[in-house]
């Protein structure tokens, strides 16, 4: 069983290698099926490892496999090692499971793309890097995966890089992530400096048993780790790249920018929970406050977006904020629970949106949708399940996990709970808006023909069609998961909290228990349901019955996400650019000038000195004689003659 652990990332790596060599020759659709098969293989091995762990008693549920010594350097010793424990295997299961479904979906979505096999090459590389991130047994392997997924994200956002906007979006994601990576690296340096190891088991044992970190140091590490996590998981103010990342193909948005990569910040902080517990104080408060602000901020922006993928992107940012609220409050189980249910329903929603975009000939503006449920019934049905799940309508999965996160906020601060509830109500509202504008109401896609007629451009008939079976089958499977994933952690009794029991060994007793009676919890849940219903009903009034003009809700400033992005951009383009130019000038003139100056001085001096080399042997001999005489004269004079 131990030997299976390395197979989990091994399969996608094999797939990547095969596609690298034979990808073009395999072509469409074989390359896609090969990639799907390797990810499915890694899902099966993750499943096998999961059952292997499950048969053991809880405290022994850990497999450690070290393949080889990766970096032996003095005190620093880093092994290429994998750690399969309840947390990493839970992550690996949903990454490979959802990943395999999205790979399959992509076979249909990327149909006819000239770079078909290249797309799957990147996807497999991404899954490999993501699994390294999750399964690494030390921070450096996790960092390797962390950078790997970042690079793949860059490749895939700018996959259609013939459009300059897509290439720019890729660069934006990469550069913004670098800011976060800086924090991750500093955290690693601090940990190695204070503990002398980057291995998780060493860090945890020295923090818990030997009390190796002072609170100040731990606080510094947690803040740095949080900067890293905020970059990767798109928290304020580093969320800027995620809405732009929608430039990539939709399966990429579903896999990387909704289900897996963006949750790795939450994973990292959950993994490091002993350090978080050691730091406590303002650093963990910072985490939940930033999460809360992001959840609310992104939800307001999502209300006014017209691009179907932009709505989902801001929704993802907002839901990640929910997870950070749970992590900062110390309710790690709630964070992981919401991460898993979110992976199911948000992947479902993105794939559903992709199916709509596919059916509407790459039209992404929701104002040109409407009444699509008749044209694409399967997509509509599965999308509605995803909508109910994210809106928090019981018994769908999102309700259960969001309720746990709301409890976390309640436990921390009552005002925080009210704000997070407001974000949840807005979630219900904007998702209902999306569903009503897309699948219900009047059809608005016939009208585009007249516009086309005026411009004398191509006048193709828009006829929405249901997507092929490779695309709707993943939708159906994911909608099943999104509907029932709440079963993982039902709050009724200790016996139904499977996820909490499962994650117990890796939390070292750091899980905070909510300080509220059973009745309070029931009351809060009922309020959450009412809130979600209010959101849905408000959207019915606005977008189905048209009682309120949409212009009153969709303000331009919301569509621009409070102009934060444009403010940052104009700052970077103005004073920022000037400071970069000053830095460049300093580098080119002072730094390079010093280096080049030394070279130039040497060159000039040697040009002068060259003329002394006459090539005449006898003049050299004369020089030697004079030199010898001078040396002798020196010694003789010292002897005192």
């Amino acid at each position: 069983m131990t030997s299976l652990v390395w197979l989990i990332p091994g399969f996608p790596l094999i797939g990547f290698t095969l596609l690298l060599i034979f990808g073009r020759r395999l072509g469409e659709p074989q390359a896609g099926w090969l990639a799907t098969a390797t990810v499915s293989g890694s899902f099966l091995s993750a499943l096998a490892v999961f059952f292997g762990l499950a048969t053991k008693p809880p405290e022994e549920r850990v497999y450690e496999v070290t393949l080889f010594e990766w970096i032996p350097s003095g005190e620093l010793s880093v092994g290429m090692g994998f750690l399969a424990d309840p947390l990493s295997i839970a992550m690996a299961l949903f990454v490979t499971g959802v990943g395999a479904l999205i790979h399959m979906y992509a076979i249909g979505y990327m149909h006819g793309d000239p770079k078909f096999s290249k797309f799957f090459l990147y996807l497999n590389l991404f899954v490999f890097a993501m699994l390294m991130l999750v399964l690494g047994d030390n921070l450096l392997i996790t960092f390797l995966g962390w950078e790997g997924v970042g690079a793949c994200s860059y490749f895939l956002i700018s996959f259609w890089h013939e459009e300059p906007a897509n290439a720019t979006a890729g660069k934006k994601a990469f550069v913004t992530n670098r800011v976060g990576d800086w924090g991750f690296m500093v955290a690693m340096f601090l940990l190695f400096f204070n503990i002398g190891s980057l291995k998780y088991s060493d860090i945890f044992s020295s923090v818990i048993e030997a009390d190796a970190l002072t609170q100040t140091t731990a606080t510094g590490i947690v803040v740095m780790l949080f900067i890293g996590a905020a970059g990767k998981s798109a928290q304020f103010p580093l969320y800027l790249w995620l809405p732009d990342a929608m430039a990539g193909p939709t399966p990429v948005s579903a896999l990387i920018h909704a289900a897996t990569m963006v949750t790795s910040g939450v994973y990292l902080l959950t993994r490091m929970n002993p350090v978080l517990a050691e730091a406590a104080g303002w650093s963990t408060d910072l985490i939940w406050i930033v999460g809360l602000f992001t959840a609310l901020f992104a939800a307001t922006a999502a209300v006014a977006q017209n691009d179907i993928k932009k709505v989902l992107a801001y929704s993802t940012v907002s839901q990640l904020g929910f997870m950070f609220v749970a992590v900062g409050s110390g309710l790690y189980v709630a964070a992981i629970f919401h991460m898993i249910t979110h992976a199911f329903f948000k992947a479902l929603l993105f794939l559903g949106a992709g199916s709509v975009i596919h059916g509407m000939h790459h039209e992404q503006d929701m104002r040109k949708y409407g009444a699509l449920r008749k044209a694409m019934p399967i997509t509509a049905f599965t999308f509605i399940i995803g909508w109910l799940a994210i809106a928090g309508i019981p018994p769908f999965s999102g309700f259960w996990s969001k309720d746990e996160v709301l409890l976390a906020a309640w436990n921390e601060n009552k005002i925080a709970w009210v704000m997070l509830l407001a974000a949840a109500v807005m979630t219900a509202f904007y998702m209902s808006r999306l569903v009503f504008m897309t699948f219900f109401g009047e059809k608005r896609w016939g009208t585009s023909e007249e516009e086309a007629h005026d411009n004398e451009t191509e006048k193709h008939e828009i006829t929405p069609h249901e997507s092929p079976v490779v695309m709707w089958l993943p939708l159906v499977l994911l909608s099943g998961l999104a509907a029932i994933a709440g079963l993982l952690n039902l709050p009724f009794s200790h016996d139904t909290k499977h996820l909490e029991k499962w994650l117990e060994p890796i939390l070292f007793g750091n899980e905070v228990h909510v300080n509220a009676s059973g009745q309070t919890k029931w009351l809060l849940a009922v309020i959450a349901i009412i809130g979600a219903s209010v959101g849905v009903i408000a959207a019915i009034f606005v977008y189905l019955k048209n009682r309120v003009a949409t212009s009153k809700i969709e303000h331009a400033i919301l569509e621009d996400a409070w102009r934060f992005d444009s403010t940052v951009s104009s700052f970077m383009d103005g004073p920022g650019r000037r400071s970069f130019e000053a830095t460049t000038w300093f580098d080119q003139n002072i730094i390079d000038g010093a280096v080049n100056g030394v070279g130039k001085i040497t060159q000039r001096v040697s040009t002068r000195l060259r003329s002394t080399q006459t090539g005449l042997i006898r003049s050299y001999a004369l020089g030697m004689v004079i030199g010898a005489v001078a040396i002798i004269a020196y010694f003789v004079s010292r002897m005192g003659f």
Binding site: Q613, T614, G615, I617, R618
Partner: protein
Amino acid sequence: MILGLSIGPEYYLALSALLFTIGAGGLLIRRNPLVMFMCIELMLNAANLAFISFGKEMGDLGGQLSVLFVLVVAAAEVVIGLAIVVAVMRRRPKASVDEVSVLRG
């Protein structure tokens, strides 16, 4: 001793200095590469003589040892030096060293 004269080390050293000066002067004055070579050998042997006489005077084997080293090095030097001289003379017979100055800076 035979002639009742005792020849002290100063004689040998004086001879050595004389030989060295002749060699150095010849090296500076003459232009024929072969003669210059001979002058170099003369200087080397002057040095050898000084080594030997100091060694004998101080009862140190190091002096003789150094001479052996110098001989070996000189032999090696001659092999390379003569080869270069022969190569030069083949291309330009009767050349003086002043004419072979292509390596000037």
